[in-house]
Symmetry: C2
Subunit: 417 residues, 2 copies
């Protein structure tokens, strides 16, 4: 890819993200919903302005998710997360088992081979922590008890989903899966998070203290993102996912006394990369594969809708397993767990590459991702309205708003007067 | 390239840039010199941590140069640039003709074919506006009359260099070059800059006014960089270079009343991408190809050093053609024009791809780029010392310092007390 191709792609992505994000806000929806619709408009189903399969755009969008998870970790109080830890774990485990079973059932219903049904079931397991966190933050709700349960469960089921992915990949490659191998994968994935948080918490304050002695520009910024990149890389090495490493880095730095400064420093760069991810999610959707008037694609539309139903029902029921020492609105938790995203799409792409999923079944999974992602934001918006007046949803969203923005708005206000 | 490969590359780049940048500052040299040394250490001549030929790193480094030129344009007063325009034009034309002739001469001296000699001569023509501007800004000298002449001349000879590139590429492809074709290329390149500045100046204030009516986050930031990306893309379409378009966008926005706000908004993202470029320049240098103890590579070392001498002498003499209505330190201008960079390397890569330059001759050109780039910063540092006390060089560098940095330092100071 050349620099001019990158410029065209970025122009299309930012224009779509900001135009449709603005429209979403004006009709009272979270900006992230607009960004995904913008992606559909400029992607394979619309103007073909960007190719979501381009490896450059893909890697930049992954950097966006990584920075988003880092910021979310930075904004998370680990004590509050652990306080609702039992509820999160229950929601996560139920939220992996139920959708896996129902998804497998959809495959069996259409008499698909077992391996393919396992693939379909597995692709329903992991909530997209990126999409969910972004919606909650767009609604100014990231600090509520329900949000903490959702966040914890989404991180845990992301790890569970990745364990499943490792096992299913081995299956796709024709290898035997042993109980010991499965247990090992499982232990490594959870062990990494525990070790990363423990080691990171010891290391982080020393690292931050070091930055005050450096003469280089923006020492705090570079130290923080390098810490996040390093843990992300180590997470991948350990068989976990880069986003889990970035989240752990954020959690560790959240406990230092410079957490707010780091947040302020990392925002601008995160705001550059994050829309690339959400627009890409929309851009990858190929509506043509799901045309109901074409007999060849009608079957995949039906499978996709059934998968979506299975995905929604599974997480809603899982939400009701949440018990904590305090009252929780468990329906909110269930709805918050609905969006599937990156992990589901990774499953689908792996299946497509391995020759297990046809282009049609790939689109069915993409439809499931799309439906679950589009259904949750308006539902959450309705359920959370009483507590979030309009002003709050515009001014308090933690992830998308910066200090300099607030200053900018004040200046703009002054100019208008 | 996967996300983990990108993370490793970025970790290596930022670590090298910040570590060696810090060292350079401590011995009183511009940070950019340290960043390039850091590149050599982690590149093909050292630890092999990054592959400068990776298309992803290459494209991100180009985005860095583009943002650097945008910021420089944003910080440039077009009236002052035009006031020294005649001097700039003279330095640019002499600074293209003299190095081209001497470079051709070096090829002829070694009895190389005419086409190859033309290639070598052409690769000496364009001053690296990115390197020069960064050095001047690291030294806090971007606003002096001499700097304005250098900046103007560097932009003009970049355009001249790109015209030459178009002609030489046609030659390499075996096509005939007509006077009409050459004139057309020349007219388009300069015409674009004039039109872009004129149209941009009319458009920019309207665009900025629009941002105050938007509800999206960081409207000013996204409007500005999209304006820069759009002009960069149009410049490429018109046969000029993306960096020329970005510079023109900066010049146009510099005349709006929000120029300082835009600068503050774009800094953080620019500081992320700019080091990628300077580290890449160092990383591409293969010292092995120039081993003096190996008879096979000794010849290329000699050619490279002669090319470097030709490159330095040509620009020094060109500096003396600078006449303006006021006194100018013309030796400073000559020295400021010495660094070659991206355009020289583009010539070399094109020659290598076309099969005209051997790996040895490619390294000769790379050596010339390296010598010219490393020679200028310390020389400028010595010549400009009387006017730049140490504090100024650390605190006033316009491109590498941000408002939030200053705030950060103040906080750090407070913590230390």
């Amino acid at each position: 890819m050349t620099i001019t191709e990158l410029l065209v792609a970025l122009l299309a992505i930012f224009a779509a993200a900001k135009l449709f994000g603005e429209l979403a806000r004006r009709i009272g929806q979270p900006a992230v919903l607009g960004e995904m619709v913008g992606g559909i408009v400029i992607g394979v189903s619309g103007l073909h302005l960007i190719d979501a399969h381009s490896s450059l755009i893909h890697v930049l969008s992954e950097l966006g998710v990584l920075l988003l998870l880092f910021l979310i970790g930075l904004d998370t109080d680990i004590h509050r997360l652990l306080a609702v830890g039992r509820a999160s774990a229950a929601v996560a485990v139920a939220g992996v088992l139920l959708p896996f079973a129902t998804g497998y059932g959809v495959g069996a219903l259409f008499a698909l081979p077992t391996t393919i049904s396992v693939f379909l079931g597995a692709s329903l397991t992991a909530t997209s922590v990126a999409i969910t966190a972004r919606v909650l933050s767009d609604l100014g709700q990231l600090k509520s008890d329900e949000s903490q349960v959702i966040l914890g469960a989404a991180v845990i089921d992301d790890i569970l989903g990745l364990v499943l992915l490792t096992l299913v990949s081995a299956m796709a490659a024709g290898r035997k899966i042993t109980m010991i191998g499965a247990g090992r994968t499982f232990g490594i994935a959870f062990g990494f998070v525990a070790v990363a948080i423990a080691a990171g918490t010891i290391l982080a304050p020393r690292l931050i203290a070091l930055t005050t002695r450096l003469r280089i520009t923006r020492a705090l910024f570079f130290t923080s993102i390098m810490f996040a990149f390093a843990l992300a890389y180590l997470a991948d090495l350990a068989g976990s996912a880069v986003i889990i490493g970035a989240f752990a880095a954020g959690l560790a730095l959240a406990r230092t006394d410079r957490a707010r400064d780091i947040e302020r420093e990392v925002y601008p760069i995160a705001q550059f990369f994050i829309p690339i991810f959400f627009v890409s999610v929309g851009a990858a959707v190929d509506l043509k594969q799901l045309n109901p008037f074409n007999p060849a694609s009608r079957q995949f539309l039906v499978i996709g809708l059934l998968l979506a139903l299975a995905a929604i029902a599974g997480k809603l029921v899982a939400g009701f397993t949440a018990f904590a020492g305090r009252p929780l609105r468990r329906i909110v938790i269930g709805v918050g767990m609905i969006p599937r995203g990156e992990v589901g799409l990774i499953f689908a792409q792996l299946g497509l590459t391995a020759g297990l999923l046809s282009a049609g079944l790939y689109s069915s999974v993409a439809l499931m991702v799309m439906v679950t992602t589009f259904v949750a934001p308006p539902l959450l918006r309705v359920m959370l309205t009483p507590e979030t007046p309009d002003e709050a949803s515009t001014l308090s969203d933690v992830v998308t708003e910066t200090m300099s923005d607030v200053a900018e708005k004040e200046i703009a206000e002054e100019l208008r007067q």
